[in-house]
């Protein structure tokens, strides 16, 4: 059974936040919803877990007690210790008394927070807070785990530890949906949904998105030069140029696009379509 959104439409007043958005979330896999601020990522995830009701479309999700959700802010109690956060969540999720101790110990071990069990949630570093929040959402071994930007602003060491936790959940069969602004996190996912201004610009496996880049991508020398074409962007000291019909301008050499190029091309195509 696959979870997620199908043709979901959500509006805030007169502003349409999601237009017919489809996000399939399969068990045992990580689906990444990638896009910038205001793209609609949080709205997608809130609709997925049932925090808001779409106007149209279908949402498939397990019963509430089988969902783990971490919002983009907090996801833990700052005034409770790490241990108290675990105890509180274990009760809230109605974990059987006999399961609580061992499961809490397991989560402390997996999040690397055993040494910090007596510290207040609010006193942990940003990375530790995110790990605790994800750990709390995993406490009841959910069927669907939904994480809203768990790695934003987190340093690379904590980010790698968070992805180890996320991978571990998927490896046990959990369906995982993660929102992020980082393209390299999308590049590693099993499935990607690229969202901008509430619309899906591309979706599928990273390989499929890469294969579907239309036309040609080229590289032109930077260094004081103006944008070679309107469909160009900077990559390090060079320019990348996208020619939708395959006709690269003089001075640009054809380049095999990488996933980051593919995402920018999809965004440029979306911009042209608006």
């Amino acid at each position: 059974m696959s979870w997620g959104l199908e043709d979901v439409r959500v509006s805030y007043g007169r502003r349409v936040a999601l237009h017919a958005v489809t996000v399939p979330v399969d068990p045992g896999r990580v689906t990444v919803v990638v896009g910038g601020d205001g793209a609609g990522k949080s709205t997608c995830l809130k609709a997925m877990v049932g925090l808001l009701q779409p106007e149209a479309g279908t949402v498939r999700r397990p019963a509430k007690e089988h969902i783990g959700y971490v919002p983009s802010t907090a996801g833990l109690y700052a005034d409770l210790t790490v241990q108290e956060n675990l105890d509180f969540s274990a009760v809230a999720y109605r974990l059987p008394a006999g399961r609580r101790g061992p499961r809490e110990a397991e989560i402390l071990e997996r999040t690397g927070l055993a040494q910090a069990r007596d510290r207040l949630g609010g006193q942990l570093s940003g990375g530790m807070q995110r790990k605790l929040a994800v750990g709390l959402a995993l406490l009841h071994s959910p069927e669907l785990l939904v994480l809203d930007e768990p790695t934003t602003g987190v340093d690379p060491v904590s980010r790698m530890e968070l992805w180890r936790l996320i991978s571990g959940a998927a490896a046990l069969g959990t369906a995982v949906a993660v929102a992020t602004t980082y393209v390299n996190e999308a590049a590693r996912a099993a499935s990607v949904v690229l969202l901008e201004a509430g619309r899906v610009l591309a979706s599928g496996s990273p390989e499929a998105i890469l294969r579907s880049v239309p036309g040609a991508v080229g590289t032109a020398r930077g260094g004081g030069t103006a944008r070679p074409t309107p469909l160009s962007w900077r990559r390090g000291p060079d320019w990348r140029v996208w020619a939708p019909a395959g006709d690269l301008p003089a001075g640009a050499t054809k380049t095999d696009p990488d996933f980051e190029d593919a995402v920018v091309v999809a965004e440029l195509a979306g911009e042209r379509g608006r």
Partner: protein, 286 residues
């Protein structure tokens, strides 16, 4: 090109705590330097030292060839992660206020932000706010630009547009120092300086930082099981795509381990990416 800002063997102690430990850093006109490090590595303290906002316990700091002062600081543009804009003022009002403060009143609003002239900054999307903060920081034509996580929260195309402006400033001769946790952003820089525990532990281009570091790439039908086996053995592993696991560890030992558990898998050696190299460097600086 001239060295614009330089820290030579700079140390900063706060009581018994050494925040920056004999660090060297130099930024030359026309280049984009990325300053990387985990939280608490000393990046912010080093920047404050470079700008003369802190007096070093030891070592020498030079900003445009002399000790940092109010006069040299005027030649620096700084964009903090929080942007430093007035959210209750319009874009045009933010522009007038800042240009007047720097003694450039009457400077024309640049075309990159002109479309939002009458909008309140707080009502703009984050990508647009970042464009405004950049334009404002560049308004007095700074020779050194210091940017903290310049594209945080912005989508890939928005980030590319911001980098266009950063590159334009560097192409025009400015030196740029970028601090970031985002390894994609780091790869946009010409060279990188990596800090851990107050010390500079690596420096060079992305390729030089990665060096010969490799990871093992496991392909198999049951990637979940491969991940679980490797994870249980303490290997730092991550799922990759639908049938892959990426592991920091020796490919041969990983292949043997998976085979001993009866798992059929192809294990290849792959070049590490910058994030993997960074984690390896800062978790084991020796």
């Amino acid at each position: 090109m001239d060295v614009l800002a330089e820290a030579r063997q700079v140390t900063m102690r706060f009581g018994a705590f050494t925040a920056v430990d004999a660090a060297d850093l130099a930024i030359t006109g026309g280049e984009v330097v990325g300053l990387l490090g985990a939280n608490g590595a000393g990046k912010t303290t080093l920047i404050r030292l470079l700008l003369g906002l802190l007096e070093p316990s030891d070592g020498i700091v030079r900003l445009f060839g002399s000790a940092p002062s109010a006069a040299t600081r005027r030649r620096v543009g700084y964009v903090p992660q929080t942007l430093g804009l007035y959210v209750d003022l319009t874009v045009a009002e933010n522009w007038s206020f800042t240009t007047a403060a720097f003694g450039y009143a009457g400077t024309v609003l640049p075309e990159t932000i002109a479309a939002w002239r009458g909008e309140l900054v707080g009502a703009l999307p984050l990508g647009a706010q970042r464009q405004v903060a950049f334009a404002v920081a560049l308004s007095h034509r700074p020779e050194l630009l210091v940017l903290d996580e310049p594209t945080s929260g912005v989508g890939p195309l928005g980030a590319a547009r911001l980098w266009e402006q950063i590159r334009q400033a560097a192409d025009g001769g400015a030196g740029v120092l970028v601090t970031t946790h985002n390894m994609e952003e780091a790869q946009e820089c010409d060279r990188l300086v990596v800090m851990a525990d107050g010390r500079v532990v690596a420096r060079g281009t992305t390729a030089e930082i990665i060096g010969g570091r490799t990871v093992a790439e496991v392909r198999c039908d049951d990637a979940g099981r491969a991940f679980a086996l490797l994870d249980a053995e303490g290997f730092p592993a991550q799922l990759e795509g639908r049938n892959g696991v990426r592991v920091a560890g020796p490919a041969a030992a990983i292949a043997d381990l998976l085979a001993s558990k009866g798992l059929t898998a192809a294990v290849d050696v792959a070049g590490a990416n910058l994030e993997e190299a960074f984690v390896a460097i800062v978790t084991d600086p020796a």
